[in-house]
């Protein structure tokens, strides 16, 4: 039976080695890249990043995007999940349609909304038909930052609400119906039941959805890139640009570190703020 | 020749002891029930016999062979699990044939044994179905048939009936008994249900906190429990325990007296509910609190000198809560228990 002692380690060994090589090592290397300049420890890369015109813009834009997109997605997904709960007919079909965007990449989503929002696109066609605009309007230029921002938000919400929905629906399935029924018998209306029963019990799922989505939202870049090129700078987009256009690994790495630090901080905040004590879980 | 010898088995989980130096012999062809409340170690013991769990120390012999270090497949036994553990992706036929196929039996042999086992358990009509289409009772039959098909020297059963509803449980119980009687397989059967153990077993080992309190034939266990725990656990309603003061070798409570041999000044009388007669006067004073007509008897719950007691009287007796009755236990059937250690007096425990 000594065999049995070793077996679990043998089973996790490949995955562990892999994750060390492709997660831990690059993580350390990224940090090293960021803090090194020609083999000497220095903050040159940080200074370069901070001195860049796009730096402040990209930080502001990224945070603005996250703040606009995440709450919208959580609310929409909650509404959709509650609708799914209420459905008997057609539930599977509707659910499938709503999770289609799950398989759509951010680049593709950007292209989809480019087709809709470009100056000779469908939005302008509809507005034209309604007599609201005379000819093609350019919504996505840097001269129209508000409509450009709205466009990015639309694309992000369209694409990435599905994953939140999946997590919430899965979470809802784990909540026994009896809780809601008990509350109903004691006189709680639908809104009270949602607020006092469903929402608290759904907290762990909301937490994982928030963490996952926030980390991914700080990584946003291809959507923006597809819609506007570098007209709307965001953090990872800048990392990509420094790597590819300016051929500067160091500054790209500093951007990477920045994104990771922000993601990690967001995760910690979520875990703290939405902690559910184990004894309160069903 | 396939008795089981359990030799000084000990099992610890960290600091906690699940089994303490447990020694037990199961004879060839015997049906032994391991009876006890949950957490008493009975399932752990069964799993150690099966080889699914490793003992901390001690040895297991099956048919004289030391199997202590062998994996389950080499111990020559079969097992029926609490949740049936019928393989959901195989037909009933394939389930029953599984053990035989693993042994490398020929197709003809497999067919013959599957048909025999299926016949014994009356599952022939379902052989081509998948378990998901079967009821709990039917699945349980498949699990038993799968175990019997390999004609095991030893059959282990872990609470096999606990997931069935009451009526089905009764039916399966008698059926199991007749099937196992005819096959003569050495069987160890774990249960927390004392009626099940009483009805099925040749002998019962009552377990409590990792030790065997008593091992005996069902009737002997019922009549002469070796400890207070056994008396309270075996039989329904449980045995009454009434403390009586002792003076000059005589236990006395109310007008009831009985000579006892103890050095202490208190003794516990263990009395079965049905071993008590209601008399006109004298005996133990009993204040009735609740009357429950059970059909065959009328069960009275009340107090004897402030101590809870239950008495079974004739179903047509006219008794109401608040009545005071005089009780006369039949002296020969009282089990006298030392209140200090809970052991019966005058018995080899």
């Amino acid at each position: 039976m000594t065999n049995n002692r070793l077996l679990p380690y043998l089973l996790i060994a490949p995955a562990t080695v892999f994750l060390v090589l492709l997660f831990v090592v690059p993580l350390v290397q990224t940090i090293a890249l960021a803090f090194m300049d020609n083999g000497v420890a220095s903050l040159t890369n940080f200074r370069k990043m901070a001195g860049d015109l796009n730096f402040g813009l990209s930080i502001g834009n990224t945070f603005l995007l996250v703040l606009a997109v995440i709450p919208l997605q959580i609310c929409m997904a909650l509404v959709m999940a509650m609708m799914i709960q209420k459905m008997d007919k057609g539930r599977d079909l509707v659910l499938w349609i709503w999770i289609i965007p799950l398989g759509i990449s951010d680049l593709a989503a950007g292209l989809v909304w480019l087709a809709i929002l470009q100056d000779r696109g469908y939005v302008n066609t509809v507005l034209n038909m309604l007599g609201l605009v005379d000819g093609p309007v350019n919504w996505l230029s840097y001269e129209a930052p508000v409509s450009l921002f709205v466009g990015v938000v639309l694309a992000e919400v369209w694409r990435a609400t599905a994953i939140v929905l999946v997590i919430l629906v899965a979470g809802l399935q784990l909540i026994p119906k009896e809780y809601g029924e008990a509350a109903e018998i004691f006189g709680a209306g639908p809104w009270t039941r949602f607020r006092k029963i469903t929402l608290p019990l759904l907290k762990p799922s909301i937490q994982s959805a928030l963490i996952l989505r926030t980390v991914l939202a700080f990584e946003v870049f291809a959507v923006v890139y597809a819609l506007s090129g570098r007209n709307f700078p965001v953090l990872v987009g800048e990392a990509y640009a420094w790597q590819h256009v300016n051929q500067n690994n160091g500054v790209a790495a500093v951007y990477a570190i920045l994104v990771m630090a922000i993601s990690l901080a967001a995760t910690v905040i979520y875990i703290r703020a939405l902690r559910t004590p184990p004894e309160m879980q069903p | 020749m396939s008795g089981i010898r359990i030799d000084a088995i000990e099992k610890r989980f960290g600091a906690a002891r699940a089994l303490e130096q447990l020694t037990l012999d199961v004879e060839d062809g015997e049906f032994l029930a391991l009876l006890g409340p949950s957490g008493c170690g009975k399932t752990t013991l069964l799993r150690i016999i099966a080889g699914l769990e490793t003992q901390t120390s001690g040895r297991i012999f099956i048919g004289g062979r030391d199997v202590s270090a062998l994996p389950p497949r080499e111990r020559g036994l079969a097992m029926v699990f609490q949740n049936y553990a019928v393989f959901p992706h195989m037909t009933v036929y394939e389930n029953v044939a599984f053990g035989l196929r693993m042994k490398g039996a020929t197709a003809a042999e497999v067919n013959k044994q599957v048909e025999r086992a299926a016949g014994l358990l009356h599952i022939e009509p379902y052989l081509e179905r998948y378990p998901a289409k079967l009821s709990g009772g039917q699945r349980q039959r498949v699990a038993v048939a799968r175990a019997l098909a390999v004609q095991p020297a030893v059959l282990l059963m872990d609470e096999p009936l606990s997931n069935l509803d009451a009526l089905l449980r009764l039916e399966m119980r008698s059926e199991l008994k007749s099937v196992l009687n005819s096959s003569g397989t050495t069987t160890v059967y774990v249960t927390h249900d004392q009626t099940e153990a009483m009805g099925l077993a040749d002998r019962i080992a009552v377990m409590h906190q990792g030790v065997i309190e008593q091992i005996d034939r069902p009737q002997a266990l019922y009549e002469r429990p070796a400890t207070r725990f056994v008396g309270g656990f075996v039989g329904s309603p449980p045995m009454n325990f009434i403390d009586m003061p002792v003076k000059a070798g005589l236990a006395r409570l109310g007008d009831f007296t009985n000579p006892v041999s103890t050095g202490r000044d208190t003794i516990t009388a263990g009395i079965r509910a049905e071993d008590i007669a209601v008399v006109e006067r004298g005996g133990l004073p009993f204040d009735v609190m609740v009357c429950e007509p059970l059909g065959a008897t009328l069960l009275l719950t009340g107090r004897v000198a402030g101590q809870l007691a239950r008495v079974a009287v004739r179903p047509d007796a006219v008794v109401a809560p608040g009545d005071r009755l005089n009780l006369e236990p039949s002296p020969g059937r009282i089990v006298w228990i030392d209140p200090a250690n809970g052991k019966a007096i005058g018995q080899a425990a």
């Binding site: 679990p8 490949p14 892999f18 289609i100 398989g103 759509i104 980390v215 990392a239 790597q243 990690l264 | -």
Partner: protein, 274 residues
């Protein structure tokens, strides 16, 4: 009709129109990019647009596929995704089994490592890997990209497969041992067949993760682009109809795959999040 039934009807109508609107919100953009993809150059510049598919034809898509590099990139993308699927399953499923079936020292540390990867934007870690990959000859190869994508998909596969294995009662395996199986036989005959559909779903999801990933794929390749990376790099200089065709081609396999795994998706996430 009483007032109550009217209000119930009204609420039903409102409910279902809400559902329909949300369905349209998802489907209409897909329809529109399909119009763009099949409309060709003429369709893109037409003003105002025709909202019905009368201008469309297969010619535009054929032209797109004939562009040099597109087909190769699509094949590359599929190859990388298949490799990712294979790796993440081969590495993740055993780890998931260990997490589900054994208690061992270091278990929590391992689980922590896996969960921690979720708090990091993993694709960005491709930056320093360019150097390592150039040195080891993995740079600009499908294998190299697949390795990074496996790092993305592996935590997911490990957690999902662990929950899958947890869903298979240990007793089934024990019964197999009792009835003559070795550990490996019991796994092959009992556990694997029962876990297979779920594992397949997890594998397909890894495929989608890889197919869609753009950052690491574009950083780690120059000539052997995946479709996503290829489209990103030629984005700036390509005409609109070309971009739309590419976008549509990106969406297509993902949508089909999501359809294939839809039943398992919820079970996977429900437990993977615990």
């Amino acid at each position: 009709m009483s007032e109550a039934t009217v209000s119930i009807r009204l609420r039903r109508v409102m409910f279902w129109s809400g559902v329909a609107m949300l369905c349209a919100w998802v489907l209409v953009p897909i329809y529109l990019i399909a119009l763009g993809a099949f409309g060709g150059r003429a369709g893109v510049f037409r003003w105002p647009k025709n909202l019905l598919p009368w201008d469309s034809g297969l010619a535009a898509m054929q032209a797109f596929l004939a562009v040099e590099g597109v087909w190769t990139a699509a094949v590359n993308g599929a190859l990388v995704a298949c490799l990712t699927m294979l790796f993440s399953l081969l590495l993740g499923a055993p780890a998931g089994y260990a997490l589900a079936r054994y208690r061992f020292a270091g278990q929590d540390a391992f689980r922590m490592l896996v969960v921690l990867t979720r708090a990091f934007p993993l694709a960005i870690l491709a930056l320093p890997l360019t150097v390592t990959f150039i040195r080891t000859g993995l740079y600009d190869t499908p294998l190299g990209v697949a390795l990074v994508h496996t790092a993305l998909a592996l935590p997911f596969t490990a957690l999902v497969s662990s929950s899958l294995f947890m869903g298979i009662p240990r007793e089934l395996e024990e019964a197999a041992w009792i009835f003559g199986c070795t550990g490996l036989q019991a796994f092959r005959k009992i556990v694997l067949p029962l876990a297979l559909p779920g594992l397949a779903a997890a594998a397909i999801f890894s495929f989608v993760i890889s197919w869609n990933e753009v950052f690491a794929a574009s950083v780690l390749t120059v000539r052997n682009r995946t479709l996503t990376a290829y489209l990103l790099t030629v984005l700036a200089e390509s005409p609109l109809h070309f971009r739309f065709a590419g976008g549509f081609l990106l969406i297509l396999p993902s949508v089909i795959f999501i359809f294939a795994v839809r039943k398992y998706l919820f079970a996977m996430w429900g437990i993977a999040n615990r």
